[in-house]
Structures are given as C-alpha cells and as structure tokens.
Amino acid sequence: MSSSIVLQVENLVKTYDNGVEAVKGVSFNVNRGEVFGILGPNGAGKTTTLEMIEGLRPITSGTIILDGINAVQHPYKIKERIGIQLQSSSFFQNLRLNELIEMFAALYGCKVDPLKLLDDVGLKDKARAMVKELSGGQKQRFSIATTLVNNPVVVFLDEPTTGLDPQARRNLWELIGQIRERGTTVVLTTHYMDEAQSLCDRIAIMDDGKIVALDSPGQLIRQLLARGFTPRTEVHAATLEDVFLDLTGKTLRD
C-alpha cells in the first residue's frame, strides 16, 4: 500500500436484516489530498457506503483501512481522525455557533479558536447567532466548520450542496477547494454532475449498490466519446446556469 493512499475500501457489503442489499461489494482507493466524489442516483448506496466508512453503520463484510487504521475494528480511532457532515444533520437548539464549535472541539478533546474557524467558512459575524437563524447555505457552511474542529485527515461530506441556490452552491465549492488546499482529503457524494466535474479529482459512479465507473471526470468523458457517443442536444458554449449567474451575480444571497 502506497502512503499516498489515505482510504482503502475493499469488497464492502451491506445487507440489511430484511434482506435488502444496499451495497454489493464496493472497492476503491482515495488518494491523500484529493477530492473524491461518489455519484449516483438516489438509493444507489452512496450514503450507506459513507456511513459504513465513518463507523456509523455496522458493515456486513469487507475491509476499510483509513490512514493505516482498520476502521471496522477501531471505529472510535477513526472518528477521531475524520470529519463528518451528515446529509441532514441538525444541531442543538439554544446554543450559539461559537458555543457549538467549542462543544464539538471538546468532544474530540481539541481546542480551537471558534472565531477563526467561523471566519474560515465566512460566518464570523454570525458567531453569536443560533443555527435556526441561518440560511440554508450558511447552515451547510457551519456544518462543514464543525467537521474541521479536529483538523481531520479526511472530511466526508454527504450531499453538501443539495437544496442550495446556485450562488450558495458556488460559494460552497470554493470552501471545499480551500479545505483541499489545507491538505485535507475530501470525500463527497452528490448527484449534480457539474459539481462533480468542477470539484472532484476522481469520481466513482454508483448504481444499485455497485461502482460502475471510477476515474477522473475528464477521463470518463473521453472514454464515453471514444465509445462513439454523440450528445442528444447541440452543445452550447455556455450553460443555462452561466446565464443565471451572469444575470444575478455571484454574490451570496444569505
């Protein structure tokens, strides 16, 4: 195993008690410092795969090695090294953002400067606000801030941009880019292709509990074209989203 591989997943299987096979033998490696995307339609097994790696869901079979540690045998050691953003996680009511950051840091046994961390995600002026006062994009950025309190080796983001407007989405992409620049590996799930294309170094496409393709976005497109694919619609030099952003600007509407 080369040291450039930070996460190694082999033959991961999840079969629920009712016999449903959510993940049917998934294998992939994630390189240190890259943004790795897991794509797929709803119900493809993306979230289940992530939750098994994160130690939130017991696995049926397979091996997971993260930062040299067997995640199945040492789920708590793994949790200390990773940051997890859940698909729909809420935070406790009646606590301010800075207090929540402090609490989460303490749960990892770390000390952070809440204001510095909130500044990193553009929420410094909201430090004394409650989570319920935040907009959708701000909530997601705050949620990402809580994943960074322990200076994690890998950050897992489950559909971080779902439900956000285009401006907030672009803004979050920038934030994910900054996390990557800090040298932190990012594993994210999404079902937005444009997001995968502009954010991810490599992507795995999942369908029906299996990985059906794994490569860089550019490589996957070239492979498709090489198979003689022609798009159904004529190709424009710009997309509708480009038009939208051109008309409404890129500034955040939070």
Binding site: L56, L86, S89, F92, N94, L95, Y108
Partner: protein, 364 residues
C-alpha cells in the same frame, strides 16, 4: 483525562441549552412556586382566634376586672356590643360566643358578692371555640371570686406552655409538590428533547464524534440532576422563607431522595424517548404515566383517604415511595437509612425503569 474534559464540556453545553429553554424554567420553578404560594396562603390562616362579643351591663369594679382579664387571653378577639348587636352577629356567624355580664354582677353585700350569673350564648353549629371560651371564663370568674372574697384557693391548676412541632398542611404539601416537579422534570425534559434530537439528526451528529453515546446520555442525566437539586433548593428555601416550612431531618438525606427520585423518572423519560418515533407520541404517553401517579401517590392529600384495596396498589407506586421518604425526613426528622421500605421500593423501581429504557432505546 481527555474523556473527562469532553464530558465536562458536554455537561456545560447541555446545561446552557437547558437553561435557555424558557418552558423548562416555567415548569420546573415558576409553576411549582405558584402552587406552593396558593397552598401556603390557604393553610396560613389556620387556627383563627375565638371571636367573643361582650355586653357589660354592670359598672362594678369586679365587672371591669373581668373584662380586663378576658381581653388579656390571647386566643380571644373581643368586641364590645350591645345585646341586640351581639345577637345579630352571633346569628350571622361573625361571633362564636356572646358573653353577657348582668347589671348586679360584682355588687357586694356583707363582704360577699351578690349571687349572679354570667350568661354565655353560642352557635350550636360551632361549639368547639365556645366550649374553650366557657372554660376560660369560668376560671376567670372563680379567680375573681377568690380575689374579692379573700378565700384561699382550695384547688388550682398550674399551666405551662409547651412549643410543639406545629406541622401544618403546608409541611405536608411541599414535599408533594417537589416530588411532582421532579417527576415531571425527569419524564418530560428527557422524553421531549431526545425525541426531537433523534428526529432532527442531532443525536446522529453526536454519534459521528469520538464520544461514546453512553457518555452523551449520562451528560444529559447529570444536567437534569443539577436542575433537580437547584429546583429543590429554591422550592424548600421559598417554602421556609415565606411559609414557615419545617425541615426536621437532614438536608443531605432529603437531597438524596430528590436525586433517587429524579433517577427513577429519568428512566421513565428515557424509556419514552427510546420508544417514541414521533414527537406527537411523547405527550400522551408521558401523561398516561404521570397523571395516575399524580392522583394516586398522595401528593396533595394523604393516601389514607383511599379505600384499603386501592391503598394496597398505591402504596407500591414509585412516586409514593419518593414522597413518603421526603415527608418522613422533612416532617418527622427520620434519617433515610431508617426508611428501608422506601429505599428498597425506590431501588426496585429504578431497576425496572432502566431495564425498560435499555430495552426500548434506539438512536434513530
């Protein structure tokens, strides 16, 4: 060490969160204080003075002396009324006893008083006060008789005032209201918040951190215990300050019973939180548990009023043990270790509620 720090941080944050919830403060402090005040005011005008009306037709020295002695009796409130006014007041129940001193009372003839009678009239429906008053009056008349005739008393009574534990209804009801508050705090504060956290994903977010889920549950329990001790301190202090609540026993024993009681009902709260899948399920089930306990555990009135067959059930309810231990300690000065029955009952209930809680609890 790291674990301890995480735990303390968890407790601190949870306490902050808890205290910022206005509903909690209202239910655990304000409402019980209002109830205490109501019961306090209701029971504070117990034992009013015996109300006498006096009509004095005599102008003698002895008659004046008699009236003076009567006024000095602390248990009487005395008005001087005409015979007609007094009869009216007695008829309306404003006066308990009407004393009429006849015109020739106290007149002397050959060194002896003229035989005369003091007449008293009382309301047949309320004879208690009047009988006491009659006794006191005849005693005064006898002593006046001796004083004015110079006869040495043949027999006399020596009375000494003794201070006794003057336990009133308030002393009975304060432990009841405190036990009720602890029960509600235990059941509702845990059940509602855990179900909400379970549904909105906050619990799962905690699971994503290296803290063990059990530590999180424990931190929540510790927060509730801190609030219970605060509530007990405030309510007992409030009762003692404003309504003369008597604590005969040990404060530590009393606090221990509060904590044990809280632990029992936290177990009930965790059971409901573990079982419920929706927030709307919490209130009906929690009330199904707490309302019968509230009515049958002798919170507001002694359980002795129930028929025997019912008592054989109510005596074994968890809240009965808690409130009984509280009353024995506060009202009778018993130590907790002298109450093995209550102690055993509480421990059994704790074992029962936590067995159910562990069986029912789910994180999602």
């Amino acid at each position: 060490m790291k674990t301890v720090k995480s735990f303390v941080a968890m407790v601190k944050a949870s306490l902050k969160m808890f205290m910022r919830n206005k509903g909690t403060i209202v239910f655990s402090l304000l409402l019980p204080m209002v109830m205490l005040s109501v019961f306090g005011f209701l029971s504070s005008n117990s034992g009013p003075a015996i109300r006498l009306a006096i009509t004095n037709h005599s102008t003698t020295e002895m008659a004046a002396e008699f009236e003076k002695e009567l006024v000095q009796v602390g248990a009487f409130s005395i008005e001087t009324l005409s015979e007609a006014e007094a009869a009216d007041a007695l008829g309306k129940g404003h006066v308990d006893l009407h004393v009429i001193v006849p015109e020739r009372f106290g007149e002397m003839k050959d060194g002896r008083p003229v035989p005369e009678q003091i007449e008293t009239r009382f309301n047949n429906g309320k004879p208690q006060g009047a009988q006491i008053a009659n006794l006191v009056i005849s005693q005064i008349v006898n002593s006046l008789d001796r004083k004015f005739t110079g006869n040495a008393p043949m027999l006399s009574i020596k009375t000494t005032g003794v201070t006794v534990n003057d336990l009133g209804y308030f002393d009975f009801v304060l432990p009841g209201i405190l036990a009720m508050t602890i029960m509600q705090l235990g059941i509702f504060s845990v059940a509602f918040s855990f179900v909400a956290w379970k549904l909105n994903g906050a619990l799962r977010r905690i699971q994503a951190t290296p803290i063990h889920p059990f530590q999180f549950v424990l931190a929540q329990a510790v927060v509730r215990l801190i609030v219970v001790i605060m509530t007990a301190t405030v309510l007992v202090g409030f009762g003692a300050w404003f309504f003369d609540f008597h604590m005969m026993g040990s404060y530590i024993d009393f606090a221990l019973v509060c904590i044990i009681g809280a632990l029992i009902f936290l177990g009930v709260g965790f059971s409901i939180a573990g079982w419920a899948r929706e927030e709307t399920q919490v209130a009906p089930v929690a009330n199904l548990v707490q309302l019968p306990l509230l009515l049958l555990s002798g919170i507001f009135f002694p359980a002795e009023v129930f028929p025997k067959w019912l008592q054989s059930i109510t005596n074994f309810l968890p809240l009965t043990y808690v409130v009984d231990a509280m009353r024995k300690i506060a009202n009778e000065g018993t130590s907790l270790w002298e109450l093995p029955g209550d102690l055993l009952g509480m421990c059994v209930w704790m074992a029962v509620t936590y067995t159910i809680a562990v069986k029912l609890f789910r994180w999602e």
